[in-house]
């Protein structure tokens, strides 16, 4: 009731340390909306000092957790611009990468579809941004605690991007647009050599060359494939990759891939 209200300090009147404690406490109990409001008031009321800097990072984290990726991204960017040499700057870069890490593909699509086929079949814009942000982290702070995890995530993202290209190459192979499938496969070989998808790319490239009557090129590519990925399915089965048969696709909700 209102009687208590007047006595209890609001976030507009609290001193800085109690306000920070209040905000941090909401963050701990994952009440992100309240945490966000409290941090914003703290930043506005106390525009200087370590607490302000710490609050800006935690504000970005709260917004990220509160499923507001765009706000979080602009907050963290402003922090990095204002405090480039802050002691937690490496965490800021790491958080910036995290924000876009798993944004590709809608939430339901990712939840329902098997594996991560959801995020390798949609607009790769966020994956690319996340990859760049993580690479900035590993370049500026190679031995930061977050760099190792960032490298793992970069590998995962690179494989996502490569798998996306492979999916498109498979589509063009299926619809007999062989030069398109060859170009896409070649794009994977040139840009994502270390990714496991290079094997599929080599296989698709070989099949495309065969279809285009470029036998010498096909043999050459097949030799490279056999050398590097001896147990790739294509080596044993010439019409890999297989696609669900027409009957299986006729069953509703059977998924298309």
């Amino acid at each position: 009731c209102s009687m208590f209200r007047s006595k209890k300090e609001t976030i507009d009147t609290m001193p800085v340390d109690r306000l920070y404690a209040n905000a941090h406490d909401s963050l701990e109990h994952s009440d992100y909306a309240a945490a966000e409001k409290a941090y914003e008031r703290l930043i506005a009321r106390f525009p200087s000092g370590d607490i302000n800097e710490q609050s800006q990072i935690e504000l970005a984290y709260a917004q990220y957790k509160d499923n507001k990726p765009d706000d979080a991204y602009s907050t963290i960017n402003r922090f990095i611009k204002t405090f480039p040499t802050h002691k937690h700057a490496d965490y800021a870069y790491y958080l910036r990468g995290l924000i876009n890490f798993d944004r590709t593909g809608g939430f339901i699509e990712r939840y329902l579809s098997r594996g991560n086929s959801a995020s390798t079949r949609r607009d790769q814009g966020f994956n690319l941004t996340a990859f760049d942000d993580f690479s900035q982290l590993t370049r500026r702070y190679p031995n930061s605690a977050y760099a190792t995890d960032a490298r793992q995530r970069m590998i995962f993202l690179r494989n996502q991007l490569a798998q996306f290209e492979i999916n498109v190459a498979e589509y063009y192979l299926r619809t007999k647009s062989y030069i398109a499938s060859a170009d896409r496969a070649q794009y994977v070989i040139e840009h994502y050599q270390q990714s496991p998808q290079t094997a599929d790319a080599l296989a698709i490239l070989t099949r495309s060359y065969i279809a285009l009557d470029r036998q010498p090129l096909a043999d050459q590519t097949r030799k490279v494939l056999a050398l590097n990925y001896p147990d790739h399915p294509y080596l044993t089965d010439p019409n890999w990759p297989h696609h669900p048969s027409i009957w299986r696709k006729a069953i509703p909700f059977s998924g298309h891939h």
């Binding site: 062989y178 030069i179 285009l212 090129l217 050459q220 590519t221």
Partner: protein, 142 residues
């Protein structure tokens, strides 16, 4: 079967007869590029062999293929073999007719053309946050 419509699949380069005739050995890769354009197939493992492949399959029928292969020896053209579809502009025009796209674009009545001229819009749009400090700097309008 022929009844089911599968869109035509055209891939690769279309070359002009007069350009191909101007090819002679000894030309550098740059000169060939200017003359014939970018080849459609360059294997990642053999940079000295350029294939100007051209394939065409009409409504799912089997694909007709023609390839002009150029082999280079450290940047000079050594051998040319194979043939190519002589690019027949007239035929291409007939092909493009199948999409019934009228070249004069959509008439004024179309509501969903997105390229409408939007006006000055909000304050933010007009301002480019250029950082130069001179107040009288010319503000570049979008």
């Amino acid at each position: 079967c022929g009844l089911v419509y599968t869109p035509d699949v055209q891939q690769g380069n279309l070359l002009d007869k007069k350009n191909v005739d101007q090819l002679q050995p000894g030309m550098t890769k740059r000169q060939v590029l200017v003359l014939l354009g970018t080849p459609s197939v360059i294997s990642p493992f053999d940079q000295d062999r350029w294939d100007y492949v051209s394939t065409f399959s009409h409504r799912g029928k089997p694909m007709t293929k023609r390839t002009l292969t150029l082999t280079f020896n450290n940047d000079t053209l050594v051998r040319t073999e194979g043939d190519f579809f002589a690019q027949d502009a007239e035929q291409l025009l007939k092909d493009s007719k199948k999409y019934k796209a009228n070249p004069t674009g959509d008439a004024e009545g179309d509501k969903n053309t997105s390229g409408k001229k939007d006006d000055d819009g909000g304050f933010g749009v007009g301002v480019s946050g250029s950082s130069d400090d001179s107040p009288a700097s010319k503000r570049n309008q979008k």
